[in-house]
Symmetry: C3
Subunit: 106 residues, 3 copies
Amino acid sequence: MKMVQAIIRPEKMEAVKKALEEKGFIAMTIIEVRGRGEQKGITLEFRGKKVDVDTIPKMKLEIVVKDEDVEIIIDTIRASARTGKVGDGKIFVLPVERMCKVRIDD
Amino acid sequence: MKMVQAIIRPEKMEAVKKALEEKGFIAMTIIEVRGRGEQKGITLEFRGKKVDVDTIPKMKLEIVVKDEDVEIIIDTIRASARTGKVGDGKIFVLPVERMCKVRIDD
Amino acid sequence: MKMVQAIIRPEKMEAVKKALEEKGFIAMTIIEVRGRGEQKGITLEFRGKKVDVDTIPKMKLEIVVKDEDVEIIIDTIRASARTGKVGDGKIFVLPVERMCKVRIDD
Ligand SMILES: Nc1ncnc2c1ncn2[C@@H]1O[C@H](COP(=O)(O)OP(=O)(O)OP(=O)(O)O)[C@@H](O)[C@H]1O
Ligand SMILES: Nc1ncnc2c1ncn2[C@@H]1O[C@H](COP(=O)(O)OP(=O)(O)OP(=O)(O)O)[C@@H](O)[C@H]1O
Ligand SMILES: Nc1ncnc2c1ncn2[C@@H]1O[C@H](COP(=O)(O)OP(=O)(O)OP(=O)(O)O)[C@@H](O)[C@H]1O
Ligand SMILES: [Mg+2]
Ligand SMILES: [Mg+2]
Ligand SMILES: [Mg+2]
């Protein structure tokens, strides 16, 4: 089992959820985060003044799936979250040794 | 070492913390998340209208422990977080290669 | 690749970001969390009454880096986040099997 962690633009969350749903992946955990990638941050103009925004609000998605589903999950997230501009996001895959429900002793 | 990640109902957090404490597990990190499991979401009535709530607020607990403590942590969380209805939560166990304090060079 | 997860005092975040930046580590994800370590919590006086604050607001930093950079990341976080008092924080290192961008098919 693997945990696919994807950090995406907040405005892409609905599209990503829908795209994953269409492939049969419903279960997920969503966390509000802030972050920055290689480009450090951005400079915005606010009331005529330049402001450095050094971390940007993002959404983190965590999806635990079988090993053989990792590839399609990554492809689906990329296809639905991509704009082509820097800041589109990042995907990490971590090993998971065990998954169980709270409701039953599975 | 392992990181036990448990996603539980927010209203069960106090009971889970207390149950873990009684077994001697104090240290933990708590994160507010939203999520959905296999059942996708729920339909609620709000002012007479059906509203699909596709992700539900949950609490995520992260506890880093020795390998031999994973089993009792899982049992304790299940016993204290369970209602028996869908949505009770999920537990993931991830490998941790190193843990250290910031305060001292341990 | 590894994910370095550091839980630090919120008031140390700027110093930690700056210290990491100076070593060339820009990319990171930041999450607001609550937590407690070995000492369980603290007792504060509020309007003359003792109040147990059993979890304390902290910031979690997640940084995915090459294996050979883990040591310097840990040293840099410790040097910039340390006060020497209990509650300074904790660092965990988790294995990461894959990292990719959303913007391009790398
Ligand atoms: N190495 C990293 N470790 C932890 N989080 C990261 C890392 N790189 C990126 N992130 C997270 O992903 C978010 C989006 O990053 P971003 O898409 O800018 O990555 P990037 O590598 O700079 O790619 P691009 O060149 O397309 O901008 C960041 O805000 C941060 O939360
Ligand atoms: N595969 C998964 N990956 C990531 N997060 C998950 C996964 N499954 C469940 N979760 C998280 O756990 C929370 C609770 O899920 P839930 O208890 O409904 O799981 P379930 O598998 O549907 O079990 P049940 O049949 O008892 O409802 C979700 O809101 C989500 O945050
Ligand atoms: N074993 C653990 N598992 C998960 N999170 C932890 C663990 N230990 C500490 N944390 C997180 O780190 C934060 C800071 O913990 P803290 O610095 O008090 O650790 P500690 O081990 O008690 O060290 P110290 O003795 O220096 O206080 C906690 O609020 C919690 O979020
Ligand atoms: Mg970037
Ligand atoms: Mg469910
Ligand atoms: Mg402590």
